[in-house]
């Protein structure tokens, strides 16, 4: 039966520097959860608090039914995988994985059988007698995971598990970990600063910023409805426009109309993903096509108007169809975007018509 983790009102400061402030989070049994955030957002600290490697100044953490904060790290039943693996350098792969059983004085034949089973799981049966220094990064990471699993943890915590690996190994290991999780169903939290990794791997993503939880939800929901400008920008490239709203009409401060939204009049910000900008060739168009770059299947077009430059993205095929070239004039369709204004939740802007005068479909998103 998988274990639940409950974090309630947890705060932590290091010498006056607040790292976590009043964090509340429940990790459901058997869930694979990503803690996503830039460095310094407190995500690793939270992980260390759950493991008992550090103590919260305030609040409580429970693993399963019991309050973990009163328990020593060695008794919490938490498997922790460190970013730099932290394998025992003076022990072979076999002994590293056997360690949790050796210290529990498990009978030797049992240890041998269990280690061999885990070696098979991580597909390193042939490297049992190697030392950590003789392994590649990906291999070390897998040994670290096997060692954590050997202690039969109730929950698994991974600190930047793929941070020190190159792109290909990272992708393979990610798939492998997802498979492993689907088979074992052990409640798992992993920390990452890579949003692609978090979205690809996790059932649920928690975005952290400045020691607080910025937003949590399914990857697709967060991407569609980011709660604030920071998260919007953190989750991928976006064009940022300062706008004025008047009678529901959104107008860039440079003058052109972007669309409509039913929000109070005043200043606001609109964030638009590059693929929500569609340039259309027009001899009298008010946008000038700047640099065009194509990287494989994707193409990017930069467009300028009155000192404002926006980046549009589309498939390379779609670009070919438009026939746009650098120096051409074009019109720009805004097919989506998110509006943030003081005191107003994020408002999704979508489906703008080409002429830009019809009313838009707007909706309140997220919170």
């Amino acid at each position: 039966m998988p274990t639940e983790i409950k974090i309630a009102n947890v705060s932590r400061a290091f010498g006056g520097q607040v790292v976590l402030s009043d964090v509340n989070l429940t990790v459901h049994p058997g869930e694979l959860l990503a803690l996503l955030g830039p460095s310094g957002s407190g995500k690793t600290t939270l992980l260390r608090l759950i493991a008992g490697l550090d103590q919260p100044d305030w609040g409580s953490i429970s693993v399963g039914a019991e309050d973990a904060t009163t328990r020593h790290a060695s008794e919490r039943g938490v498997g922790f995988v460190f970013q730099h693996y932290a394998l025992f350098r003076h022990m072979t792969v076999f002994e590293n994985i056997a360690f949790p059983m050796r210290i529990r004085k498990t009978a030797k034949p049992v240890v041998k059988a269990k280690v061999e089973e885990l070696l098979k799981l991580i597909q390193l049966e042939t490297l049992a007698s190697r030392y950590p220094a003789q392994l590649s990064g990906g291999q070390r990471q897998r040994v670290a995971l096997a060692r954590a699993l050997a202690s039969q943890p109730r929950v698994l915590l991974l600190d930047e598990p793929f941070g020190a690996l190159d792109a290909v190994v990272r992708r393979d290991l990610r798939r492998w970990l997802r498979q492993l999780h689907d088979e074992m169903h052990i409640t798992t939290i992993f920390v990452t600063h890579d949003q692609e990794e978090a979205f690809d791997l996790a059932d649920r993503v928690v975005i952290m910023k400045d020691g607080k939880i910025g937003q949590e939800g399914k990857p697709i929901d967060i991407y569609q409805n980011p709660a604030n400008p920071f998260i919007h920008e953190f989750l991928g490239e976006s064009n940022h426009l300062a706008v004025q709203v008047q009678n529901g009409v959104i107008r860039a401060e440079a003058g052109f109309e972007i669309g409509h939204a039913s929000v109070p009049d005043g200043r606001a910000e609109v964030f638009i993903r590059p693929h929500h900008l569609v340039p259309v060739p027009a001899a009298q168009g008010s946008w000038r096509v700047g640099r065009i770059t194509a990287t494989g299947a994707q193409a990017r077009v930069s467009l300028t108007r009155g000192g404002i430059t926006l980046e549009a993205a589309m498939t390379a095929d779609a670009l070919l169809e438009t026939g746009l070239r650098q120096g051409d004039q074009a019109e720009l369709r805004f097919t989506g975007g998110t509006l943030f204004a003081p005191g107003v939740g994020p408002v999704r802007v979508s489906g703008l018509p080409q002429t830009g005068v019809r009313f838009l479909r707007t909706g309140h998103a997220g919170a």
């Binding site: 790290a73 460190f82 932290a86 394998l87 360690f99 210290i103 990064g137």
Partner: protein, 274 residues
């Protein structure tokens, strides 16, 4: 090219004159009256007693400093506390003061007219001019050797492995014996080796507190002086040759250990780099 040859031969000449020649001279003098006389000199009860004293002192001083070195490196490497820098400076103190002064300080402390002298003599405890004093002096002089080798190693390696061991369910002692100690074993051995060489070869501090009773409170290095002063040149060199051999063995072991230690540090650096 000519410059290089000149420099190299200058260095080699220096090594030959100042290091190799004295070493050869020690053995040549020791064996000048033949092998029989050499072994007779070593078998002399007074020299035997000196060897025994030297071994006893080292057998106490080295483990004492081993334990101290582990404790100090643990504190300094792991924790940031008030007085940490002071402790680092204090560890180096024996390096910066003359061993003779160290011996004198001990006399001032434990001697008959010293601070604790009255109390000690009232309880019939003799420290100065006896084995305990010589051990204390040796511990003081060899204080930094282990700690100074291990502290940088502990600082370099960090404590992630210990943290991993905790999460895997290990207790404090299990972590110490199975993780922390093996991690620093080469540095520790290296420190012990240097500490031992110094403990056995120490002259100044021990000389002040020993009272130099030949055949009773003489160590091997003190015996060399005693024999030399009584014009038993060949016997003096025979005793000295034992210390010279200790030095040679130390040198070989040191080279071997340095290799292992370098590997260890290089592994840490590689890990940090990627």
């Amino acid at each position: 090219m000519a410059n290089r040859i000149l420099l190299i031969s200058a260095a080699l000449t220096f090594v030959a004159v100042f290091l190799l020649l004295p070493l050869i001279a020690v053995f040549a003098q020791a064996l000048s009256a033949g092998l029989g006389a050499y072994f007779a000199a070593i078998a002399d009860p007074n020299v035997q007693s000196a060897i025994w004293m030297t071994l006893t002192i080292a057998a106490v001083a080295v483990p004492a400093n081993l334990i101290f070195g582990i404790c100090a490196s643990w504190c300094i490497g792991r924790f940031d506390f008030k007085g940490r820098n002071l402790l680092i400076t204090l560890i180096d103190l024996p390096f910066s003061i003359s061993p003779v002064i160290a011996g004198l300080l001990e006399v001032l402390l434990f001697g008959l007219n010293g601070l604790l002298g009255g109390w000690l003599s009232a309880h019939n405890i003799q420290i100065i001019f006896a084995l305990p004093g010589m051990i204390i002096a040796t511990i003081f002089v060899t204080f930094p050797f282990v700690a100074r080798e291990v502290i940088p190693l502990v600082q370099e390696q960090g404590n992630e492995e210990e943290e991993a061991a905790v999460t895997l369910g290990a207790s404090g002692w299990q972590i110490f014996w199975r993780v922390s100690l093996p991690k620093i074993r080469w540095g520790l051995l290296y420190g012990v080796l240097l500490c031992n060489a110094r403990a056995m070869g120490e002259f100044g501090a021990v000389s002040v507190v020993s009272g130099k009773v030949f055949g009773s409170t003489d160590t091997l290095s003190l015996a060399v002086e005693s024999l030399y002063e009584s014009y038993e040149i060949q016997a003096a060199f025979a005793a000295a040759s034992l210390l010279a051999m200790l030095a040679l063995v130390t040198l070989v072991l040191k080279a071997a250990l340095e290799f292992s230690l370098r590997e260890e540090l290089a592994a840490v650096k590689r890990r940090k780099a990627n």
